[in-house]
Symmetry: D2
Subunit: 131 residues, 4 copies
Amino acid sequence: MDAKMMDAVSADMMSMPGMQSMDMALMQACMDACAACEQSCTVCAVQGMDCAPASMNCADTCNTMMRSMLRMQGMTPASMMAMLDACIAMCETCEDMCLPHAETSEVCKMSAQACRACADACQALKESMAV
Amino acid sequence: MDAKMMDAVSADMMSMPGMQSMDMALMQACMDACAACEQSCTVCAVQGMDCAPASMNCADTCNTMMRSMLRMQGMTPASMMAMLDACIAMCETCEDMCLPHAETSEVCKMSAQACRACADACQALKESMAV
Amino acid sequence: MDAKMMDAVSADMMSMPGMQSMDMALMQACMDACAACEQSCTVCAVQGMDCAPASMNCADTCNTMMRSMLRMQGMTPASMMAMLDACIAMCETCEDMCLPHAETSEVCKMSAQACRACADACQALKESMAV
Amino acid sequence: MDAKMMDAVSADMMSMPGMQSMDMALMQACMDACAACEQSCTVCAVQGMDCAPASMNCADTCNTMMRSMLRMQGMTPASMMAMLDACIAMCETCEDMCLPHAETSEVCKMSAQACRACADACQALKESMAV
Protein backbone atom coordinates (compact mmCIF):
# COMPACT_ATOMS: atom_id res chain seq x y z
CA MET A 1 0.00 0.00 0.00
CA ASP A 2 1.06 3.53 -0.82
CA ALA A 3 3.02 5.13 2.06
CA LYS A 4 1.04 8.39 2.12
CA MET A 5 -2.25 6.53 2.18
CA MET A 6 -0.88 4.40 5.03
CA ASP A 7 -0.14 7.60 6.96
CA ALA A 8 -3.80 8.60 6.63
CA VAL A 9 -4.93 5.21 7.93
CA SER A 10 -2.44 5.43 10.75
CA ALA A 11 -3.48 8.95 11.80
CA ASP A 12 -7.11 7.86 12.13
CA MET A 13 -6.23 5.02 14.46
CA MET A 14 -4.62 7.21 17.10
CA SER A 15 -8.06 8.28 18.29
CA MET A 16 -9.63 4.83 18.52
CA PRO A 17 -10.10 3.16 21.93
CA GLY A 18 -7.93 0.07 22.24
CA MET A 19 -6.26 0.63 18.87
CA GLN A 20 -3.53 3.16 19.72
CA SER A 21 -1.01 0.44 20.41
CA MET A 22 -1.63 -1.28 17.06
CA ASP A 23 1.69 -1.86 15.31
CA MET A 24 1.29 -0.08 11.97
CA ALA A 25 4.18 -1.91 10.29
CA LEU A 26 2.60 -5.27 11.19
CA MET A 27 -0.78 -4.02 10.00
CA GLN A 28 0.64 -2.90 6.67
CA ALA A 29 2.43 -6.25 6.27
CA CYS A 30 -0.86 -8.00 7.05
CA MET A 31 -2.77 -5.95 4.44
CA ASP A 32 -0.13 -6.72 1.82
CA ALA A 33 -0.25 -10.44 2.69
CA CYS A 34 -4.06 -10.41 2.41
CA ALA A 35 -3.91 -8.69 -0.99
CA ALA A 36 -1.32 -11.18 -2.29
CA CYS A 37 -3.31 -14.14 -0.93
CA GLU A 38 -6.55 -12.90 -2.55
CA GLN A 39 -4.78 -12.75 -5.93
CA SER A 40 -3.07 -16.14 -5.62
CA CYS A 41 -6.23 -17.89 -4.47
CA THR A 42 -8.27 -16.28 -7.26
CA VAL A 43 -5.86 -17.69 -9.85
CA CYS A 44 -5.74 -21.05 -8.05
CA ALA A 45 -9.56 -21.25 -8.06
CA VAL A 46 -9.80 -21.35 -11.87
CA GLN A 47 -7.63 -24.45 -12.27
CA GLY A 48 -10.61 -26.77 -11.83
CA MET A 49 -8.95 -28.65 -8.97
CA ASP A 50 -10.57 -29.76 -5.72
CA CYS A 51 -9.00 -26.89 -3.79
CA ALA A 52 -11.07 -24.37 -5.81
CA PRO A 53 -13.91 -23.91 -3.29
CA ALA A 54 -11.44 -23.31 -0.44
CA SER A 55 -9.50 -20.92 -2.66
CA MET A 56 -12.62 -18.86 -3.39
CA ASN A 57 -13.53 -18.76 0.30
CA CYS A 58 -10.00 -17.71 1.13
CA ALA A 59 -9.89 -14.98 -1.55
CA ASP A 60 -13.13 -13.42 -0.29
CA THR A 61 -12.05 -13.67 3.36
CA CYS A 62 -8.67 -12.06 2.66
CA ASN A 63 -10.31 -9.21 0.74
CA THR A 64 -12.73 -8.57 3.61
CA MET A 65 -9.85 -8.73 6.12
CA MET A 66 -7.79 -6.23 4.10
CA ARG A 67 -10.70 -3.84 3.72
CA SER A 68 -11.47 -4.06 7.44
CA MET A 69 -7.93 -2.91 8.20
CA LEU A 70 -8.43 0.03 5.82
CA ARG A 71 -11.60 0.87 7.78
CA MET A 72 -10.46 0.48 11.38
CA GLN A 73 -12.97 3.17 12.43
CA GLY A 74 -15.54 0.43 12.01
CA MET A 75 -13.70 -2.17 14.07
CA THR A 76 -13.39 -2.88 17.78
CA PRO A 77 -10.55 -4.88 19.34
CA ALA A 78 -13.02 -7.76 19.76
CA SER A 79 -14.26 -7.78 16.15
CA MET A 80 -10.68 -7.34 14.91
CA MET A 81 -9.53 -10.36 16.91
CA ALA A 82 -12.42 -12.48 15.63
CA MET A 83 -11.77 -11.45 12.02
CA LEU A 84 -8.07 -12.28 12.35
CA ASP A 85 -8.95 -15.71 13.79
CA ALA A 86 -11.33 -16.35 10.87
CA CYS A 87 -8.74 -15.27 8.32
CA ILE A 88 -6.10 -17.52 9.91
CA ALA A 89 -8.50 -20.48 9.94
CA MET A 90 -9.57 -19.92 6.32
CA CYS A 91 -5.96 -19.53 5.11
CA GLU A 92 -4.99 -22.74 6.90
CA THR A 93 -7.94 -24.62 5.40
CA CYS A 94 -6.94 -23.42 1.94
CA GLU A 95 -3.26 -24.21 2.50
CA ASP A 96 -4.24 -27.75 3.54
CA MET A 97 -6.31 -28.15 0.36
CA CYS A 98 -3.59 -26.78 -1.95
CA LEU A 99 -0.56 -28.52 -0.47
CA PRO A 100 -1.38 -32.00 -1.84
CA HIS A 101 -1.14 -30.49 -5.37
CA ALA A 102 2.02 -28.51 -4.72
CA GLU A 103 4.17 -31.10 -6.49
CA THR A 104 2.16 -31.01 -9.70
CA SER A 105 0.77 -27.48 -9.80
CA GLU A 106 3.04 -24.46 -9.52
CA VAL A 107 -0.06 -22.31 -8.89
CA CYS A 108 -1.18 -24.46 -5.93
CA LYS A 109 2.34 -24.29 -4.53
CA MET A 110 2.37 -20.49 -4.71
CA SER A 111 -1.14 -20.33 -3.34
CA ALA A 112 -0.26 -22.53 -0.36
CA GLN A 113 2.73 -20.28 0.34
CA ALA A 114 0.57 -17.14 0.11
CA CYS A 115 -1.96 -18.69 2.51
CA ARG A 116 0.81 -19.58 4.99
CA ALA A 117 2.30 -16.07 4.75
CA CYS A 118 -1.13 -14.50 5.27
CA ALA A 119 -1.97 -16.68 8.27
CA ASP A 120 1.43 -15.81 9.78
CA ALA A 121 0.92 -12.07 9.20
CA CYS A 122 -2.53 -12.22 10.83
CA GLN A 123 -1.08 -14.15 13.77
CA ALA A 124 1.72 -11.60 14.25
CA LEU A 125 -0.78 -8.73 14.21
CA LYS A 126 -3.05 -10.56 16.63
CA GLU A 127 -0.20 -11.15 19.06
CA SER A 128 0.78 -7.49 18.93
CA MET A 129 -2.79 -6.53 19.88
CA ALA A 130 -2.98 -8.98 22.75
CA VAL A 131 0.00 -7.47 24.53
CA MET B 1 -32.46 -18.73 -1.77
CA ASP B 2 -34.16 -20.82 -4.42
CA ALA B 3 -35.33 -24.21 -3.06
CA LYS B 4 -33.89 -26.28 -5.93
CA MET B 5 -30.51 -24.57 -5.61
CA MET B 6 -30.62 -25.24 -1.88
CA ASP B 7 -31.15 -28.94 -2.63
CA ALA B 8 -27.95 -28.91 -4.69
CA VAL B 9 -26.02 -27.27 -1.84
CA SER B 10 -27.51 -29.74 0.61
CA ALA B 11 -26.65 -32.79 -1.50
CA ASP B 12 -23.01 -31.77 -1.69
CA MET B 13 -22.71 -31.53 2.07
CA MET B 14 -23.69 -35.10 2.74
CA SER B 15 -20.22 -36.25 1.69
CA MET B 16 -18.20 -33.77 3.75
CA PRO B 17 -16.49 -34.92 6.97
CA GLY B 18 -18.02 -33.26 10.00
CA MET B 19 -20.72 -31.53 7.98
CA GLN B 20 -23.34 -34.27 7.60
CA SER B 21 -25.15 -33.16 10.74
CA MET B 22 -25.39 -29.54 9.59
CA ASP B 23 -28.99 -28.37 9.91
CA MET B 24 -29.89 -27.22 6.38
CA ALA B 25 -32.90 -25.16 7.49
CA LEU B 26 -30.69 -23.22 9.92
CA MET B 27 -28.04 -22.79 7.24
CA GLN B 28 -30.57 -21.46 4.74
CA ALA B 29 -31.94 -19.06 7.38
CA CYS B 30 -28.38 -17.95 8.07
CA MET B 31 -27.66 -17.29 4.38
CA ASP B 32 -30.87 -15.28 4.05
CA ALA B 33 -29.99 -13.26 7.17
CA CYS B 34 -26.50 -12.58 5.77
CA ALA B 35 -27.94 -11.44 2.42
CA ALA B 36 -30.44 -9.12 4.15
CA CYS B 37 -27.76 -7.73 6.46
CA GLU B 38 -25.40 -7.04 3.54
CA GLN B 39 -28.13 -5.02 1.81
CA SER B 40 -29.19 -3.08 4.92
CA CYS B 41 -25.63 -2.23 5.89
CA THR B 42 -24.79 -1.14 2.32
CA VAL B 43 -27.68 1.34 2.40
CA CYS B 44 -26.77 2.43 5.93
CA ALA B 45 -23.17 3.11 4.89
CA VAL B 46 -24.12 5.85 2.42
CA GLN B 47 -25.86 8.02 5.00
CA GLY B 48 -22.62 9.78 5.97
CA MET B 49 -23.02 8.86 9.65
CA ASP B 50 -20.33 7.58 11.99
CA CYS B 51 -21.60 4.01 11.74
CA ALA B 52 -20.62 3.92 8.03
CA PRO B 53 -17.22 2.20 8.43
CA ALA B 54 -18.73 -0.54 10.63
CA SER B 55 -21.58 -0.92 8.13
CA MET B 56 -19.15 -1.43 5.25
CA ASN B 57 -17.15 -3.97 7.26
CA CYS B 58 -20.35 -5.78 8.18
CA ALA B 59 -21.65 -5.81 4.58
CA ASP B 60 -18.42 -7.37 3.29
CA THR B 61 -18.26 -9.88 6.15
CA CYS B 62 -21.88 -10.98 5.63
CA ASN B 63 -21.31 -11.42 1.90
CA THR B 64 -18.22 -13.56 2.54
CA MET B 65 -20.12 -15.57 5.17
CA MET B 66 -23.03 -16.19 2.78
CA ARG B 67 -20.74 -17.23 -0.05
CA SER B 68 -18.80 -19.56 2.24
CA MET B 69 -22.04 -21.37 3.05
CA LEU B 70 -22.72 -21.71 -0.69
CA ARG B 71 -19.22 -23.25 -1.01
CA MET B 72 -19.11 -25.64 1.93
CA GLN B 73 -16.79 -27.95 -0.07
CA GLY B 74 -14.14 -25.37 0.79
CA MET B 75 -14.86 -25.22 4.52
CA THR B 76 -13.91 -27.36 7.48
CA PRO B 77 -15.82 -27.43 10.76
CA ALA B 78 -12.98 -25.36 12.28
CA SER B 79 -12.96 -22.64 9.59
CA MET B 80 -16.77 -22.57 9.59
CA MET B 81 -16.81 -22.00 13.36
CA ALA B 82 -14.22 -19.23 13.11
CA MET B 83 -16.10 -17.53 10.26
CA LEU B 84 -19.36 -17.66 12.21
CA ASP B 85 -17.62 -16.15 15.25
CA ALA B 86 -16.22 -13.33 13.10
CA CYS B 87 -19.59 -12.66 11.51
CA ILE B 88 -21.28 -12.55 14.91
CA ALA B 89 -18.62 -10.15 16.25
CA MET B 90 -18.83 -7.89 13.19
CA CYS B 91 -22.66 -7.80 13.28
CA GLU B 92 -22.58 -6.91 16.97
CA THR B 93 -20.03 -4.14 16.39
CA CYS B 94 -22.21 -2.71 13.64
CA GLU B 95 -25.38 -3.04 15.70
CA ASP B 96 -23.68 -1.13 18.53
CA MET B 97 -22.65 1.64 16.12
CA CYS B 98 -26.11 1.93 14.51
CA LEU B 99 -28.28 1.71 17.64
CA PRO B 100 -27.47 5.24 18.93
CA HIS B 101 -29.00 6.60 15.67
CA ALA B 102 -32.04 4.33 15.71
CA GLU B 103 -34.27 7.11 17.04
CA THR B 104 -33.41 9.56 14.29
CA SER B 105 -32.59 7.32 11.32
CA GLU B 106 -35.05 4.69 10.12
CA VAL B 107 -32.22 3.15 8.05
CA CYS B 108 -29.96 2.74 11.11
CA LYS B 109 -32.86 1.20 13.00
CA MET B 110 -33.43 -1.36 10.22
CA SER B 111 -29.73 -1.97 9.91
CA ALA B 112 -29.32 -2.63 13.64
CA GLN B 113 -32.22 -5.09 13.44
CA ALA B 114 -30.69 -6.85 10.44
CA CYS B 115 -27.34 -7.11 12.28
CA ARG B 116 -29.06 -8.58 15.35
CA ALA B 117 -30.99 -11.07 13.21
CA CYS B 118 -27.81 -12.10 11.38
CA ALA B 119 -25.80 -12.53 14.58
CA ASP B 120 -28.62 -14.65 16.01
CA ALA B 121 -28.84 -16.80 12.87
CA CYS B 122 -25.06 -17.37 12.95
CA GLN B 123 -25.24 -18.27 16.64
CA ALA B 124 -28.06 -20.76 16.04
CA LEU B 125 -26.11 -22.42 13.23
CA LYS B 126 -22.97 -22.51 15.35
CA GLU B 127 -24.80 -24.19 18.23
CA SER B 128 -26.26 -26.80 15.89
CA MET B 129 -22.73 -27.65 14.72
CA ALA B 130 -21.32 -27.91 18.20
CA VAL B 131 -23.79 -30.61 19.22
CA MET C 1 -35.21 -6.40 -0.63
CA ASP C 2 -37.18 -5.16 2.36
CA ALA C 3 -39.90 -2.66 1.36
CA LYS C 4 -39.04 -0.06 4.02
CA MET C 5 -35.36 -0.16 3.06
CA MET C 6 -36.40 0.26 -0.58
CA ASP C 7 -38.36 3.40 0.42
CA ALA C 8 -35.16 4.85 1.88
CA VAL C 9 -33.24 4.09 -1.31
CA SER C 10 -36.05 5.58 -3.38
CA ALA C 11 -36.28 8.78 -1.32
CA ASP C 12 -32.57 9.46 -1.81
CA MET C 13 -32.86 9.22 -5.56
CA MET C 14 -35.40 12.01 -5.91
CA SER C 15 -32.64 14.57 -5.44
CA MET C 16 -30.15 13.13 -7.93
CA PRO C 17 -29.70 14.78 -11.33
CA GLY C 18 -30.87 12.51 -14.13
CA MET C 19 -32.13 9.85 -11.72
CA GLN C 20 -35.60 11.20 -10.79
CA SER C 21 -37.24 9.29 -13.61
CA MET C 22 -35.66 5.96 -12.60
CA ASP C 23 -38.38 3.33 -12.32
CA MET C 24 -38.08 2.04 -8.76
CA ALA C 25 -40.02 -1.16 -9.41
CA LEU C 26 -37.65 -2.05 -12.27
CA MET C 27 -34.65 -1.17 -10.10
CA GLN C 28 -35.88 -3.36 -7.25
CA ALA C 29 -36.50 -6.22 -9.71
CA CYS C 30 -32.99 -5.72 -11.06
CA MET C 31 -31.43 -5.82 -7.58
CA ASP C 32 -33.33 -9.03 -6.77
CA ALA C 33 -32.21 -10.58 -10.08
CA CYS C 34 -28.59 -9.62 -9.34
CA ALA C 35 -28.76 -11.14 -5.84
CA ALA C 36 -30.29 -14.38 -7.20
CA CYS C 37 -27.70 -14.57 -9.99
CA GLU C 38 -24.81 -14.03 -7.55
CA GLN C 39 -26.03 -16.97 -5.46
CA SER C 40 -26.67 -19.30 -8.41
CA CYS C 41 -23.32 -18.55 -10.01
CA THR C 42 -21.49 -19.01 -6.71
CA VAL C 43 -22.97 -22.52 -6.38
CA CYS C 44 -22.31 -23.24 -10.06
CA ALA C 45 -18.66 -22.22 -9.68
CA VAL C 46 -17.89 -25.02 -7.20
CA GLN C 47 -18.91 -27.83 -9.52
CA GLY C 48 -15.46 -28.02 -11.11
CA MET C 49 -16.85 -27.53 -14.62
CA ASP C 50 -15.44 -25.31 -17.36
CA CYS C 51 -18.07 -22.63 -16.73
CA ALA C 52 -16.60 -21.99 -13.27
CA PRO C 53 -14.42 -18.96 -14.17
CA ALA C 54 -17.32 -17.26 -15.96
CA SER C 55 -19.57 -18.05 -12.99
CA MET C 56 -17.14 -16.41 -10.56
CA ASN C 57 -16.82 -13.34 -12.79
CA CYS C 58 -20.60 -13.16 -13.07
CA ALA C 59 -21.15 -13.53 -9.30
CA ASP C 60 -18.74 -10.69 -8.53
CA THR C 61 -20.20 -8.47 -11.27
CA CYS C 62 -23.78 -9.04 -10.09
CA ASN C 63 -22.82 -8.24 -6.50
CA THR C 64 -21.13 -5.00 -7.57
CA MET C 65 -24.15 -4.12 -9.74
CA MET C 66 -26.57 -4.72 -6.87
CA ARG C 67 -24.49 -2.70 -4.42
CA SER C 68 -24.21 0.15 -6.93
CA MET C 69 -28.01 0.34 -7.08
CA LEU C 70 -28.10 0.51 -3.28
CA ARG C 71 -25.63 3.42 -3.51
CA MET C 72 -27.09 5.50 -6.32
CA GLN C 73 -25.69 8.66 -4.69
CA GLY C 74 -22.38 7.48 -6.07
CA MET C 75 -23.60 6.86 -9.61
CA THR C 76 -24.22 9.10 -12.63
CA PRO C 77 -26.50 8.18 -15.52
CA ALA C 78 -23.36 7.50 -17.59
CA SER C 79 -21.67 5.19 -15.06
CA MET C 80 -25.01 3.46 -14.39
CA MET C 81 -25.47 2.77 -18.12
CA ALA C 82 -21.92 1.42 -18.44
CA MET C 83 -22.34 -0.82 -15.38
CA LEU C 84 -25.63 -2.20 -16.73
CA ASP C 85 -23.96 -2.93 -20.08
CA ALA C 86 -21.12 -4.75 -18.31
CA CYS C 87 -23.53 -6.77 -16.17
CA ILE C 88 -25.57 -7.74 -19.26
CA ALA C 89 -22.39 -8.79 -21.13
CA MET C 90 -21.07 -10.80 -18.18
CA CYS C 91 -24.41 -12.54 -17.58
CA GLU C 92 -24.61 -13.46 -21.27
CA THR C 93 -21.05 -14.81 -21.25
CA CYS C 94 -21.87 -16.94 -18.23
CA GLU C 95 -25.19 -18.10 -19.69
CA ASP C 96 -23.34 -19.20 -22.86
CA MET C 97 -20.80 -21.13 -20.77
CA CYS C 98 -23.46 -22.86 -18.59
CA LEU C 99 -26.01 -23.73 -21.29
CA PRO C 100 -23.98 -26.59 -22.82
CA HIS C 101 -24.16 -28.36 -19.43
CA ALA C 102 -27.85 -27.64 -18.83
CA GLU C 103 -28.83 -31.16 -19.85
CA THR C 104 -26.52 -32.87 -17.42
CA SER C 105 -26.25 -30.39 -14.54
CA GLU C 106 -29.37 -29.06 -12.83
CA VAL C 107 -27.18 -26.36 -11.23
CA CYS C 108 -25.88 -25.12 -14.60
CA LYS C 109 -29.45 -25.06 -15.90
CA MET C 110 -30.59 -22.91 -12.97
CA SER C 111 -27.53 -20.74 -13.28
CA ALA C 112 -28.11 -20.12 -16.99
CA GLN C 113 -31.70 -19.15 -16.20
CA ALA C 114 -30.59 -16.78 -13.42
CA CYS C 115 -28.08 -15.17 -15.82
CA ARG C 116 -30.77 -14.73 -18.50
CA ALA C 117 -33.18 -13.22 -15.95
CA CYS C 118 -30.51 -10.86 -14.65
CA ALA C 119 -29.48 -9.70 -18.13
CA ASP C 120 -33.15 -9.09 -18.96
CA ALA C 121 -33.72 -7.12 -15.75
CA CYS C 122 -30.66 -4.97 -16.45
CA GLN C 123 -31.85 -4.40 -20.02
CA ALA C 124 -35.32 -3.34 -18.84
CA LEU C 125 -33.84 -0.89 -16.35
CA LYS C 126 -31.49 0.48 -18.99
CA GLU C 127 -34.34 1.05 -21.43
CA SER C 128 -36.34 2.88 -18.75
CA MET C 129 -33.39 5.22 -18.18
CA ALA C 130 -32.89 5.92 -21.85
CA VAL C 131 -36.42 7.27 -22.28
CA MET D 1 1.32 -9.15 -8.76
CA ASP D 2 3.93 -11.84 -8.32
CA ALA D 3 5.85 -12.54 -11.56
CA LYS D 4 5.54 -16.34 -11.38
CA MET D 5 1.78 -16.08 -10.79
CA MET D 6 1.56 -13.72 -13.74
CA ASP D 7 3.28 -16.34 -15.91
CA ALA D 8 0.56 -18.81 -14.99
CA VAL D 9 -2.16 -16.30 -15.91
CA SER D 10 -0.37 -15.52 -19.15
CA ALA D 11 0.07 -19.19 -20.14
CA ASP D 12 -3.66 -19.80 -19.75
CA MET D 13 -4.53 -16.98 -22.11
CA MET D 14 -2.62 -18.35 -25.05
CA SER D 15 -5.41 -20.87 -25.68
CA MET D 16 -8.34 -18.44 -25.49
CA PRO D 17 -10.05 -17.29 -28.72
CA GLY D 18 -9.53 -13.59 -29.28
CA MET D 19 -7.22 -13.22 -26.29
CA GLN D 20 -3.87 -14.37 -27.71
CA SER D 21 -2.95 -10.83 -28.71
CA MET D 22 -3.67 -9.41 -25.23
CA ASP D 23 -0.67 -7.38 -24.07
CA MET D 24 0.33 -9.01 -20.78
CA ALA D 25 2.38 -6.03 -19.58
CA LEU D 26 -0.63 -3.74 -20.05
CA MET D 27 -2.89 -6.27 -18.33
CA GLN D 28 -0.56 -6.53 -15.35
CA ALA D 29 -0.36 -2.73 -15.13
CA CYS D 30 -4.16 -2.63 -15.26
CA MET D 31 -4.50 -5.17 -12.44
CA ASP D 32 -2.06 -3.23 -10.29
CA ALA D 33 -3.94 0.02 -10.97
CA CYS D 34 -7.23 -1.66 -10.04
CA ALA D 35 -5.77 -3.01 -6.79
CA ALA D 36 -4.35 0.42 -5.86
CA CYS D 37 -7.61 2.15 -6.73
CA GLU D 38 -9.65 -0.30 -4.62
CA GLN D 39 -7.44 0.47 -1.62
CA SER D 40 -7.47 4.26 -2.08
CA CYS D 41 -11.21 4.40 -2.58
CA THR D 42 -11.83 2.17 0.44
CA VAL D 43 -9.87 4.60 2.64
CA CYS D 44 -11.56 7.59 0.98
CA ALA D 45 -15.00 6.13 1.66
CA VAL D 46 -14.59 6.26 5.46
CA GLN D 47 -13.98 10.00 5.60
CA GLY D 48 -17.70 10.79 5.80
CA MET D 49 -17.55 13.06 2.76
CA ASP D 50 -20.03 13.22 -0.11
CA CYS D 51 -17.72 11.26 -2.41
CA ALA D 52 -18.09 8.18 -0.16
CA PRO D 53 -20.84 6.40 -2.17
CA ALA D 54 -18.89 6.84 -5.43
CA SER D 55 -15.74 5.62 -3.67
CA MET D 56 -17.47 2.44 -2.49
CA ASN D 57 -18.88 1.80 -5.97
CA CYS D 58 -15.44 2.37 -7.45
CA ALA D 59 -13.69 0.07 -4.94
CA ASP D 60 -16.10 -2.79 -5.68
CA THR D 61 -15.89 -2.24 -9.44
CA CYS D 62 -12.07 -2.20 -9.41
CA ASN D 63 -11.94 -5.39 -7.36
CA THR D 64 -14.30 -7.14 -9.78
CA MET D 65 -12.28 -5.84 -12.74
CA MET D 66 -9.01 -7.10 -11.23
CA ARG D 67 -10.46 -10.52 -10.42
CA SER D 68 -11.89 -10.80 -13.95
CA MET D 69 -8.40 -10.31 -15.35
CA LEU D 70 -7.14 -13.08 -13.04
CA ARG D 71 -9.93 -15.30 -14.46
CA MET D 72 -9.71 -14.61 -18.18
CA GLN D 73 -10.92 -18.17 -18.89
CA GLY D 74 -14.33 -16.79 -17.92
CA MET D 75 -14.21 -13.73 -20.16
CA THR D 76 -14.87 -13.13 -23.85
CA PRO D 77 -13.50 -10.15 -25.79
CA ALA D 78 -17.02 -8.64 -25.67
CA SER D 79 -17.50 -9.00 -21.89
CA MET D 80 -13.92 -7.81 -21.30
CA MET D 81 -14.57 -4.66 -23.35
CA ALA D 82 -17.83 -3.96 -21.51
CA MET D 83 -16.17 -4.46 -18.11
CA LEU D 84 -13.32 -2.11 -19.04
CA ASP D 85 -15.85 0.51 -20.17
CA ALA D 86 -17.72 0.19 -16.86
CA CYS D 87 -14.52 0.44 -14.85
CA ILE D 88 -13.44 3.54 -16.78
CA ALA D 89 -16.86 5.16 -16.27
CA MET D 90 -16.92 4.33 -12.54
CA CYS D 91 -13.35 5.61 -11.99
CA GLU D 92 -14.21 8.84 -13.78
CA THR D 93 -17.37 9.32 -11.73
CA CYS D 94 -15.37 8.80 -8.53
CA GLU D 95 -12.57 11.09 -9.71
CA ASP D 96 -15.15 13.82 -10.40
CA MET D 97 -16.61 13.39 -6.90
CA CYS D 98 -13.21 13.43 -5.14
CA LEU D 99 -11.55 16.28 -7.08
CA PRO D 100 -13.54 19.09 -5.43
CA HIS D 101 -12.07 17.97 -2.06
CA ALA D 102 -8.52 17.56 -3.34
CA GLU D 103 -7.45 20.90 -1.85
CA THR D 104 -8.64 20.07 1.65
CA SER D 105 -8.30 16.26 1.83
CA GLU D 106 -5.03 14.55 1.03
CA VAL D 107 -6.93 11.25 0.88
CA CYS D 108 -9.37 12.57 -1.75
CA LYS D 109 -6.44 13.90 -3.75
CA MET D 110 -4.71 10.50 -3.72
CA SER D 111 -8.00 8.77 -4.47
CA ALA D 112 -8.69 11.01 -7.48
CA GLN D 113 -5.19 10.26 -8.77
CA ALA D 114 -5.69 6.50 -8.30
CA CYS D 115 -9.01 6.70 -10.16
CA ARG D 116 -7.39 8.60 -13.04
CA ALA D 117 -4.51 6.10 -13.21
CA CYS D 118 -6.94 3.16 -13.19
CA ALA D 119 -9.15 4.67 -15.91
CA ASP D 120 -6.04 5.30 -18.03
CA ALA D 121 -4.75 1.75 -17.51
CA CYS D 122 -8.14 0.30 -18.51
CA GLN D 123 -8.22 2.56 -21.58
CA ALA D 124 -4.72 1.47 -22.64
CA LEU D 125 -5.67 -2.20 -22.30
CA LYS D 126 -8.90 -1.64 -24.20
CA GLU D 127 -7.05 0.03 -27.07
CA SER D 128 -4.56 -2.84 -27.26
CA MET D 129 -7.47 -5.29 -27.59
CA ALA D 130 -9.20 -3.29 -30.30
CA VAL D 131 -6.20 -3.42 -32.60
